[in-house]
């Protein structure tokens, strides 16, 4: 009987006005603003539509911390940010305005290098050393895993270079797509082989 009461009560309350999507979005924006103002917005994120699909962009106060392709799973990327960086994560596009603008310009063919503060907290040790060398491979050029290994000071560690590229938390902006096999074949990519080909084709144009 008690459960019956409970169900009936819940049915009655179902009639209360639903919270609309627009109301929630407005509240979410307001929360992001006050959280940023009070210094408790550790990670701000947004998504950006690009020719290689929707990209998740996330930034700490230090800089861009994560770029994730749709195929990598945006939800998964957010969960790992919560676990590894901070659970104080909100959809807050304002912090990513400059990042979005530069990525848009890159895909429009009007930008060859990124001029953005980057936060490498998600990479450590040799992987981080590898990533820091990737911007040395210029726009429109490629380098082999072995060449990158040599540049990073461990010429025999080409497999580790492969891992560093595969786990690059900042694809597109840190150009791991420019690292290919010595025989010229593309090999794998965080965003999938089609995305890698698209970026290299864009840069070759």
């Amino acid at each position: 009987m008690i459960t019956n009461h409970e169900t009936e009560a819940r049915e009655l309350l179902e009639v209360l006005p639903a919270v609309t999507e627009a109301e929630l979005l407005a509240l979410r924006d307001r929360l992001a603003d006050s959280a940023a103002a009070q210094g408790v917005l550790d990670v701000a994120y947004r998504t950006l539509d690009t020719p290689v699909g929707s990209l998740l962009l996330a930034a700490t106060e230090k800089g861009l911390v994560r770029v994730a392709y749709q195929v990598q799973g945006h939800e998964r990327a957010l969960y790992s940010l919560a676990a590894l960086v901070s659970p104080r994560i909100l959809h807050a596009p304002a912090r990513l305005d400059a990042v979005s603008r530069e990525i848009d310009e890159y895909f429009a063919g009007r930008r060859r290098t990124f001029d953005l503060p980057l936060d490498f907290s998600l990479s450590h040790g040799f992987r981080r050393a590898v990533l820091s060398h990737l911007p040395d491979i210029g726009y429109g050029h490629t380098a082999s895993y072995a060449a990158v290994a040599a540049a990073a000071g461990r010429p025999r560690a080409f497999r580790a270079v492969g891992t560093a590229c595969a786990t690059n938390p900042l694809p597109v902006v840190v150009p791991c797509h420019r690292v290919i096999r010595s025989d010229g074949s593309l090999s794998g990519y965080a965003g999938g082989p089609a995305a890698k080909r698209a970026l290299l084709t864009l840069e070759a144009a």
Binding site: H5, E6, E8, A9, R10, L12, L13, V15, L16, P17, V19, E23, L24, L27, R30, L31, S34, A35, Q38, V40, L41, S86, P87, R88, L90
Partner: protein
């Protein structure tokens, strides 16, 4: 869920203030929350405190009070949905809170009692009385519309 709870206990723009304050407080406190905590129940208890803060701030302009207003003014528009919202607003404070925290917020009666004071049994009775009153008022309103 939290916005529905805030609307039921506060109504109108105050509910949005309480929602924002709730999530801001939650954002600050979240890293210290134990892994096995029931996040939704925790949010409802934060919302309860923030609703009181917001009501207190609103009342400061008029007469200082330390609690939610005894009853709320009805939302403006008519229409069936808002009539129920108006009926909720018209409930006595404890009934309104018990209905909001138990039925909308999902807190068990013991936790409702922990938040609003009194025993779990009293909280259950307040919620039941509130629902009974809502059913009656709401039914009358529907009948009015029909006639």
């Amino acid at each position: 869920m939290v916005l529905r709870v805030c609307r039921a206990v506060l109504g109108g723009a105050d509910a949005e203030d309480a929602w924002s304050e709730t999530f801001l407080a939650a954002l600050k406190a979240y890293p210290e929350l134990p892994d096995d905590a029931n996040v939704e129940a925790w949010l409802v208890t934060v919302a309860h405190r923030k609703a009181i803060d917001v009501a207190r701030a609103a009342a400061r302009r008029a007469v200082p009070v330390g609690e939610l207003p005894e009853s709320l003014s009805a939302p403006g528009a008519d229409g069936r949905d808002l009539d129920l919202a108006a009926a909720v607003a018209g409930l006595p404070r404890r009934q309104r809170q018990a209905v909001a925290y138990h039925y909308l917020g999902g807190l068990p009666y013991q936790e409702v009692a922990d938040v609003i004071g009194g025993t779990a049994e009293a909280a259950r009775r307040a919620a039941a009385d509130g629902i009974a009153k809502l059913r009656k008022t709401y039914k009358e309103t529907i009948d009015d519309h029909k006639s």
